[in-house]
Amino acid sequence: MPKLDLSAYDTKGFHDEMFDENNVVRPNYQLFLERLEKMSIRKLKNLQHATDRSQLSLGMTFNVYNDNQGVERILHLDIIPRIINNKEWTHLEKGLQQRIRALNLFIQDIYNDQKVLKDKIIPKEMIFSSVSYLKELEGFKPPKDVWCHITGSDLIKGGDGQYYVLEDNLRCPSGVSYMLENREILKRTFPELFEKLDVRPVNNYTHILRDTLESLSEVDNPTVVVLTPGTYNSAYFEHSYLAQQMGAELVEGRDLIVKNDIVYMITTNGLQRVDVIYRRVDDDFIDPEVFNKQSLLGTPGLFRAYLKGNVVLVNAPGTGVVDDKAVYAYIPRIIKYYLGEDMILPNVKTYICAEESDCKYVIENIAKLVVKQTDASGGYGMLIGPKSTKKEQEEFIAKIKQKPRNYIAQPMINLSRVPTITEENTIEGRHVDLRPYALFGDDIKIIPGALTRVALKKGSIVVNSSQGGGSKDTWVLNR
């Protein structure tokens, strides 16, 4: 039976996580490679198939927006893991903690004293023009002064082998259920490797999450719920998974009612008070009284109850202002301003179209840049210069000229690659990013693991699940 042969594996032009530039395996992948090379192609294929089947059986499916209703897909899990050694991880951990601490101070400041604006660290128009800035929150301080309890930043590694933060995702970062379930599946796929490799466990995430949520309420034994838009939402699997793992009630907006600024859920035995809501509904939809009037996903009066301090919302509303891609460009300065420290994890160089000189540069160099809409996510509203047509570039230039505030641009980064099983059952490098998860209660905890998203199409750098991306389990080693 033919054994797997990786001698022809091509690392040219990119940073590869398994092999160095001389095609020598990196130490963190040594044991894994030995296991892989003992395997026949058929065995590998069988393991991969078993994985697909477990995902279906677990119901790890998502609905794709704009797709036919009722079409469910699984997020393809490639069984070759991303392995990170302890030293690299410690660096990431410190960098993320620094960043989240600073961003939290920043959010508190812009809704209260606005010192950062008065000191002209960031132009105030930039903040007030952000669609995610909520004027209603001015003067408000959430419990324990924590705004971004749950973060799932997107990191990438460039050709230089350096990690960069690409996005911070302080609103409703998703994907953590995949981190947890991928691990359960891979433990079944490679049990002998887990015995030998000393991989740090991730499965206490939901316990820490529950503790974090409970710590925000002053009530003893608070009632914690997860608020979902419902079964048609693409991340519904995750909402139900987290609720179930935490032992929290999974509610929809219509299950809640606000009376005298107190939130209740409607049960078979009458009304029951709710203390903490882990909401997976965007700010704009949580309360039709204050925000989107057409929203059927929210609960009228919820925001009032929140401002009165009668219920805790997690994450706090208004954090989306940091996810604005134009605000992102100022984060190095924000960190310096609040913490007096240099940024540990660098940003990707960002050109702000709202600034005249940057805008000129972007328009002249659009063919080599990645242009992004400042309030979009999920890989939408984006132009990848080197892979676009002349016509697409011109369309984007017109849009930028019309509303410069809505666009930023970044140089194209050659994302690092990890060996991945292709549809033809060969192994080739595919580009990946990294989404670790942080929980901020009494302190900031980074879970030693992550969702590694992989662009399955050859050459593609778009890793979003809605655009043909898959995932990998991420092993953080204890050494």
């Binding site: 609720a243 299950d255 009612i257 859920m265 078979t268 009304l271």
Partner: protein, 318 residues
């Protein structure tokens, strides 16, 4: 428990029970038809009539053909009660209340879902395939009941589940009996003939009652069969048995066993008492069809009262 969640659990269990019953009805009928002279209308129309979906079938297909009836009851997308739709709905409900059920139960419902999805894509069925499918549905549902029984706490959710399951089962037993009893008595000239016995046996098998009936009565007789399926207190699929079980659940949910605390409990208790204090001769004298029709009407009324008492929002906001 959230009212919406309770409603979803209730319907999830009704759908599953319905799918399982349909699979059994068709399997038994299929088996029976192999031994009868080929008359598709005579053999397959009653099955559609039992489900109460004859008008829909008639408007979609008109002519009765075995393959069309099977397709209609098993896979027809436009038939809200087809096995396919029941399983898809049950699974959609299970997704919505994933936090109320265990991993075992969820994975089994999911397995049933992939079974109907895959099978419905098949273009052609030979006889063997179809019976395999019926069997897989029956076994799959029963496996699920077992998992439910072995892994779910006896909490509020459990009682809503059982309420849904037993009311659905009572309804289906009453419908099978209603339709078949008439057909069989109608062909009076065949009474006592071997053909007749095959048909009465099939009726019992449709509700998995054959073995337990034989054990209790030995000989086949129409009134004994009716008595067994309506009034038996030990056989878990008889109408009265189902009502006894459903009442236990509604008593726990309503919190009082003396008298009643809502309309649903009142109606359910009254229907159970009605069956407890009657005997089969009264029923036959009054007319079997009228009697069973009345039961079905009352079961529907109970279901809507359950909705008002537990699931709808209005009573809670005042």
């Amino acid at each position: 428990m959230l009212g919406r969640v309770a409603n979803t659990i209730y319907w999830m269990n009704r759908y599953l029970e319905r799918a399982e019953n349909y699979a059994r009805f068709m399997d038994v009928n299929f088996n029976l038809s192999l031994e009868l002279s080929p008359n598709e209308e005579q053999q397959w129309k009653p099955l559609v009539v039992i489900t109460g979906d004859w008008p829909l079938y008639d408007s979609l297909h008109g002519k009765v053909e075995k393959t069309k009836v099977i397709h209609f009851m098993a896979f027809e997308a436009e038939n809200p009660n087809s096995i396919y739709n029941c399983i898809v709905n049950a699974r959609e409900n299970a997704r919505a209340i994933r936090t109320e059920i265990t991993k075992e139960v969820w994975e089994q419902i999911n397995a049933l879902y992939y079974l109907v999805k895959e099978t419905s894509k098949q273009k052609r069925f030979n006889n063997g395939d179809v019976r395999h499918f019926f069997n897989d549905i029956k076994n799959g549902c029963q496996l699920l009941y077992g998992m439910y029984d072995a892994t779910i706490s006896r909490n509020e959710g459990w009682d809503f589940a059982k309420l849904g399951q037993f009311l659905e089962r009572a309804d289906k037993t009453s419908r099978v009996l209603d339709v078949k009893y008439h057909l069989l008595l109608g062909s009076a000239k065949q009474v006592g003939s071997s053909l007749d016995l095959i048909q009465w046996t099939a009726l019992l098998k449709s509700v998995s009652a054959y073995d337990m009936y034989r054990k209790k009565y030995g000989k086949l007789s129409s009134s004994c069969i009716a008595e067994f399926l309506i009034l038996d207190t030990d056989f878990p699929r008889s109408i009265l048995s189902c009502l006894i079980s459903a009442e236990k659940s509604i008593v726990r949910l309503s919190g009082s066993s003396f008298g009643y605390s809502n309309t649903a409990q009142k109606q359910l208790g009254a229907l159970k008492a009605q069956l407890e204090y009657t005997d089969i001769h009264d029923i036959i004298e009054k007319g079997m069809h009228e009697y069973l029709d009345d039961i079905q009407g009352k079961l529907n009324a109970i279901s809507s009262s359950i909705y008002d008492a537990f699931f709808s929002i209005e009573p809670h906001i005042s």
